[in-house]
């Protein structure tokens, strides 16, 4: 179309060293793209749904989740996300937000926990758990991660999570650390946070749940971990299984002080 202008630009661009140009343009372009998406994150739709689900009487017992204890007392939502996973006395387990929601939905509302856990992501009650997690996590927007480590089980889960993080296996010899064990690396154009430390505000553990642009889905941390393991070419991790919770403790404790920006929007 405007051939002259395009040629002009091309000539100008060629004056720069090829690689440096590609690098700068790509990084700037991606930053510009991400900025344009910030205003109007479809995650808001899931937050609104999650808030409704929290307050609605639901399940066989027709009660709401408002008596659910997320670690800060029954019904306290604000601040809960940045202190999870943590140990819960009533279940005697270290739980992340989603495994805790499964507990509350089964004890308070009468849902069958085993059924909930085997529901695929994005379907039925699992879609509801994701929406709930999105709203609950969003209520800690701007707060800083401070997972409790006072209980020995919490400490043990950190150690187990660390071992899981470095566990190398599968046909491609990948571990979590293959991609997330060093600073400043990326896959294609996507920056990879170093999850062995606090990678910074709103990065890594502090950026999920997030709306995934690539498939238009809302992804919780459980879903994020599940797909990491898929890409790692591992077998299928059970929803809320110990390995996923332990990894949550490892990454969450490492992220101490990082500010949560969730719900985020991601490629």
């Amino acid at each position: 179309m405007n051939t002259k202008k395009i040629i002009g630009l091309a000539v100008l661009a060629c004056a720069l060293p090829a690689v440096a140009r590609a690098q700068k343009t790509a990084a700037d372009g991606i930053a510009e793209y991400r900025k344009m998406l910030e205003d109007g994150n479809p995650a808001e739709l899931f937050e609104a749904k999650g808030e409704d689900l929290w307050k609605q009487p639901r399940g066989p017992k027709k009660v709401s989740l408002q008596a659910c204890d997320l670690g800060l007392g029954p019904g306290v939502v604000k601040g809960a996300w940045v202190q999870m996973p943590r140990w819960f006395a009533d279940t005697g387990r270290v739980q992340d937000l989603e495994s805790r929601l499964v507990s509350c939905m089964s004890t308070l509302q009468g849902f069958d926990a085993a059924e909930l856990i085997k529901t695929p992501f994005g379907r039925g009650e699992m879609a509801n758990i994701t929406a709930l997690a999105t709203w609950i996590a969003g209520q800690s927007h701007g707060l800083r991660f401070a997972l409790p480590q006072g209980n020995v089980e919490e400490q043990r889960f950190y150690e187990l999570g660390k071992r899981a993080f470095f566990f190398r296996g599968g046909p491609m010899d990948f571990s979590c650390a293959s991609c997330h064990g060093e600073e400043g690396k990326r896959i294609r154009l996507q920056d990879l946070p170093d999850l062995t430390m606090n990678p910074g505000d709103g990065i890594g553990f502090a950026a999920w749940p997030a709306y995934r642009v690539s498939n238009g889905q809302m992804w919780s941390m459980q879903h994020r971990l599940n797909d990491c393991y898929r890409q790692q070419r591992f077998p299928y991790p059970g929803f809320a299984s110990d390995v996923t919770v332990a990894l949550g403790v490892y990454m969450g404790v490492n992220a101490k002080g990082a500010q949560s920006i969730v719900p985020a929007i991601k490629r």
Binding site: A18, V19, A22, Q23, T25, A26, V152, Q155, R156, E159, L160, K162, R163, A164, F166, F167, R168, G169, G170, P171, M172, D173, F174, S175, A177, S178, C179, G181, E182, G184, K185, R186, I187, R188, L189, L192, T196, Y229, R230, Q231, R233, F234, P235, Y236, P237, G238, S241, D242, V243, T244, A246
Partner: protein, 215 residues
């Protein structure tokens, strides 16, 4: 009443005692617990079976934030080098155009892939490496391979002076651990991620002076 209070006090003290005494297990106990936890947490899905969690010597030795001992690293490298299958008929090079397609393709071997046949897999090169100046979307986990052949002085890949580079490159693609025990790079030949023909195509991409890598 008094007795009940006493009992309660005792119970509370016992609880405190239990908690207070509870301490973190020793590192080797934690190692065993982690292995058991991992085993219990995964299940088969499609082509991704739980036997993928059974680690060989190298995978096990490289499953920590600490590097393996020199002796173990040497053993892994020696065993890996010995395992390399060199190309049939000494033919190292295929079609760089097919190689570029493979380099762009990051698919294969996940539980959502139907088949584990190498023909359905990509070589994933761009995920971690820069290869050409045309493709700006490349990863940085591995070093840049732009001008890979050119920088190694490969003017004619079939000339005798190119033989050592050809051999090393084939070996690296077949079993990267032959040259670095804990390399992040998959073992494409050894783990049957790519077949010989596909590796020849990737070789051509890296070494043919006409490929986008060396142009």
């Amino acid at each position: 009443m008094k007795q009940r209070t006493l009992l309660a006090t005792l119970a509370a003290a016992a609880a405190v005692l239990t908690l207070g005494c509870a301490s973190l297990p020793a590192p080797d106990v934690l190692d065993a617990q982690a292995d058991a936890m991992i085993k219990a947490s995964f299940r088969d899905q499609g082509i991704a079976k739980v036997d993928r969690l059974n680690r060989d010597l190298g995978q096990k030795a490289c499953s920590s934030d600490k590097a393996p001992s020199d002796a173990v690293a040497k053993q892994i490298e020696a065993e890996s080098l010995a395992s390399i299958k060199w190309p049939s008929g000494g033919q190292y090079l295929g079609d760089w155009r097919k190689g570029e397609k493979l380099a762009q393709n990051g698919r294969g071997m996940t539980w959502t892939d139907r088949s584990a046949d190498p023909k359905s897999n990509g070589a994933q090169c761009y995920n971690c490496h820069q290869l050409s100046k045309e493709e700006i979307s490349f990863g940085t986990i591995g070093p840049s391979l732009y001008h890979y052949g050119k920088q190694r002085g490969v003017k004619d890949p079939l000339a005798p002076e190119s033989a050592a580079t050809l051999q090393y490159t084939w070996g690296k693609l077949w079993n990267s651990k032959a040259y670095a025990a804990c390399s992040n790079m998959p073992r494409f030949g050894h783990m049957k991620l790519l077949n010989e023909e596909q590796i020849r195509d990737v070789m051509a991409l890296l070494l043919d002076p006409q490929s986008p890598v060396n142009r």
